[in-house]
Symmetry: C2
């Protein structure tokens, strides 16, 4: 944690965290820093479906919406179906490999207490979630409470590792500046997350290629980067993958595959 | 529960639940049904502040926002300060009687599993919440899963009663028709809630006087009714109280009191 605190201090003090030592403010266009960005998709997007988390998280979703989403995800072999946890048992019972069951916690405000987030993680893992998308503690990042932000992610990591569940940490980039996005990614990586993810889809903006590239440059090649929020076309999805994303969250899967 | 299921069936089948037996579709203008609506506020709104839950729930709130809210609530003797649970320990340590500490759970989507909502209730009560505002299980109401909706509230009631905490159930009226609002209120009342509340402030509409009157007519005079979402002027607040509300949620307290 001292390393992250030092980086945070340096960033908030105005210095650069560029891993290549080249003194860039961020590493968007630095070959050294961007080494390891996955290039897992054909240039025509032909294998796009396997990167998609088919997602419905709106408050007024009903069972028929969720069932249709599962059918589509199974038909196209999507990576997962991502739903709120009230639908988790139904989705778990509906899906079969290779499509995973994904849910969200601390969602969408990222403002629950560390204790509440950890118990929510335990509950959804007990219900059978294969993947957990949690929102970073947004106020902790804005307040520069690095230790609290770390504590929230680390608590969930403990639970997910125990259940073999994959953990994605949602940065909610729309509320953060570039330095805060970098710090958020470093905290998530240090705390043991498997992915960082741009957006909940409930903030005032979604994924951008620029933020994907920034997040990929920050976490390196081994962690996943998920683009989500406002991705409605095939072109947008391919652009996100080109920028460094290896997972896409989308509610209208057919629009991305058509 | 059979009683509520029968009412739900009658409603969804097109009959009327009017308590006076007068055959109204709803009881907005029925003196019998509206008996017991509290009239706890002076006509000039001079004691409005004691009905206000001073509220900040936005994702990008920071500590200084919360501290300022507490100062205002203490200065004007508001009913409570309502925050996301990450701020709960700070607010609890800052406030003193008569201002209560309030937080939200299953918020704002109303879509967590019953197990997750109950454990979240336990966590926030352990952290010292005096009042808990929970979102009703919206999809369960839309899907007509009356038993699940009841289970979610009843689980939280158990926890709140054990801690002496007051429970408000947020109906999130913007996603529901009049029959669904009535059923939601009856479920909340049957499950032991202390208040029903109109809105999270994150849906596509907030409180209306019509919905307040409908909710008051449904729950009777003993339960509380809280108006929340989009209440930004003194006139709006007084209108809500006149329609039957005895608690007001507002983020800009000074606007309501000026």
């Amino acid at each position: 944690m001292k390393e992250i605190r030092d980086i945070a201090l340096a960033l908030w003090g105005g210095s650069s965290p560029c891993k290549c030592g080249g003194g860039h403010e961020v590493c968007l266009n630095c070959k050294v820093c961007r080494a390891g960005i996955p290039d897992r998709i054909a240039s025509d997007g032909s294998d796009l479906s396997s990167l998609i988390d088919a997602t419905i998280l709106k408050a007024d979703a009903v069972t028929t919406d969720i069932d249709q989403l599962c059918i589509t995800a199974l038909e196209y072999n999507c990576a997962s179906v991502c739903v709120n946890s009230i639908f988790l048992p139904r989705v778990k019972a509906t899906l079969c490999p290779p499509v995973k069951t994904c849910t969200v916690i601390n969602f969408p405000l990222g403002a629950a207490s560390p204790e509440a987030v950890k118990t929510e993680a335990q509950t959804v893992c007990d219900l059978g979630a294969d993947e957990v998308d949690m929102v970073h503690s947004i106020s902790s990042i804005l307040d520069r409470h690095v230790d609290t932000a770390y504590e929230v992610v680390a608590g969930v990591t403990d639970v997910c590792v125990g259940h073999g569940a994959l953990l994605k940490v949602i940065i909610e980039t729309c509320y953060l500046n570039r330095e805060q996005i970098i710090i958020s990614c470093l905290i998530a990586k240090k705390a043991g997350a498997d992915f960082v993810k741009t957006s909940t889809g409930f903030g005032n903006a979604g994924a951008t290629a620029e933020n994907i590239a920034l997040m990929r440059a920050t976490v390196g090649g081994k962690l996943g980067v998920k683009a989500s929020g406002g991705i409605r076309t095939r072109e947008q999805a391919i652009q996100m993958v080109a920028a460094g994303a290896n997972r896409i969250g989308a509610s209208n899967v057919l629009m991305l595959l058509s």
